[in-house]
């Protein structure tokens, strides 16, 4: 428990105020705009709470996938460490067909990460 509000709590509280105090006074396009704003705030709050873990776990999963690959000719398997570079390395390996033989492992890793990000962007879309 913190003593004062963090970013996620501020966002959540501001969103509640928007929905409770302003939304009832709005109609038509303004109501639609307010609902979009509330949605953006909800995503931001969830990302503040869950985003660091989602990124770290995605990075770890991608690194594992790259580590399992047999080295391609003439190069060592030096997996990068930052997420953006890892995603690019995985993209290159996928396009080259180097993951074709390990379908299940790749699908599982990518599905876990996709679910983590959906839990932030739109948890209602998750299926169990």
């Amino acid at each position: 428990m913190r003593d004062i509000s963090d970013a996620a709590d501020l966002m959540t509280t501001a969103r509640e105020a928007l929905l409770r105090d302003l939304l009832p006074a709005l109609s038509g396009e303004r109501r639609y705009a307010a609902l979009m704003i509330a949605n953006g705030m909800a995503i931001a709050a969830r990302e503040h709470r869950l985003g660091t873990d989602a990124a770290r776990n995605e990075g770890a999963r991608l690194r594992n996938l790259l580590d399992e690959l047999p080295p391609s000719q003439g190069e060592r398997n030096d997996a990068p460490t930052d997420l953006s570079a890892l995603r690019k390395a995985v993209r290159a390996a996928i396009r080259a067909g180097r993951f074709d033989a390990c379908d299940a492992a790749v699908a599982a890793a990518l599905s876990h990460s996709a679910a983590d990000w959906v839990a932030i962007s739109n948890p209602k879309a998750l299926r169990t």
Partner: protein
Amino acid sequence: MTNVETTGETVEDAATTALTGWLARTTNARDVRVVRYERLPGGAIQDNFLLDVHVDGGPWHGEHAFVLRTDAPTGVAASLSRAQEFAVLRVAHAAGVVAPQPLFLCRDNDVLGREFFIMQRLPGIAQGHRLTRETALVPDGDALAYELGANLARIHAIRPPWSDAVQRAHQAQGAPDADNHGEPVAIAPPPAHPALAAIAEYRRWLDRLDDAYPALEWGLRWCERHAPKTFDITLIHRDYRTGNYLVHDGRLAGVLDWEFAGWGDPLEDIGWLTARCWRFSGVEREAGGIAPVEPFLRGYEAVSGRRISREALDYWQVMAHLRWAIIALQQAQRHIAGGERSLELALTGRIVHELEYEVLQLISRSGS
């Protein structure tokens, strides 16, 4: 062009003055008066205006309810020009496709500053979230799905070459008025292999972005490995989905938004209409959130004779989610990098995660 207020009987400003002059010449009228001219909501890529006119004299004498369609200031890549869209709509309308009748094309930028065309305004409601929720609007979902299938099959009965399709449209409707239609307009030639061409195009798009998207890449690779060996090539709409057709009295009243049409594999349209991402409030109803897939496929088969396999549906639903993900990323770019700050565009970008998730779900369901 600014949004024009409706004031009294006649709307007059620079845009409508230029427009009435052009319309009077085009319709051989003594005079044309604009009674109502308002921007219609919902055009992220195209600007649509409601246009009510009174035509005085000539073959068009009387009151008319039109829609004027022109380019939004910025659009999405790979869409047709208005002249091309007009030509495609003529071909489709002449082939019996339920769609607004295209009436006049203006390629002269001096009139409104942009190319535009005018089409018949049809009654009905298009909003996907309403059609998939309010049973009063769609009392018989199966019947609507059947009509959607039959109508899509009529689009898919149009085959290359383009010159033949245009010729048939002219025979059905009479030769176009040269003043209205000018030089014949062509569309891009058919791809050698539609699925592989789409995959290559989506990869090119992804390569323009700063980040990489492993889940989309995995979906593209899966589609490449499972690419259909045989395929048909017909005219396809490429945005045939709930939200892009009008429903009036529970019936299909017209298919809108032809800007992505072109030659392709007809199964692409079927995957797009049935994909989970276009079912709005009816996620369990595979035919566009309206009905189960069976009545839609029955309508399609009744007109086309084509029977669609579950395998083909799954494949093209994966492709549909990939395509929507690419478009969502393009929309996000307009906000992030294109100088078009917009919460709606920003939130569209966030849909990518759901689409990645859905691609992976579909692939695991279909097996490898």
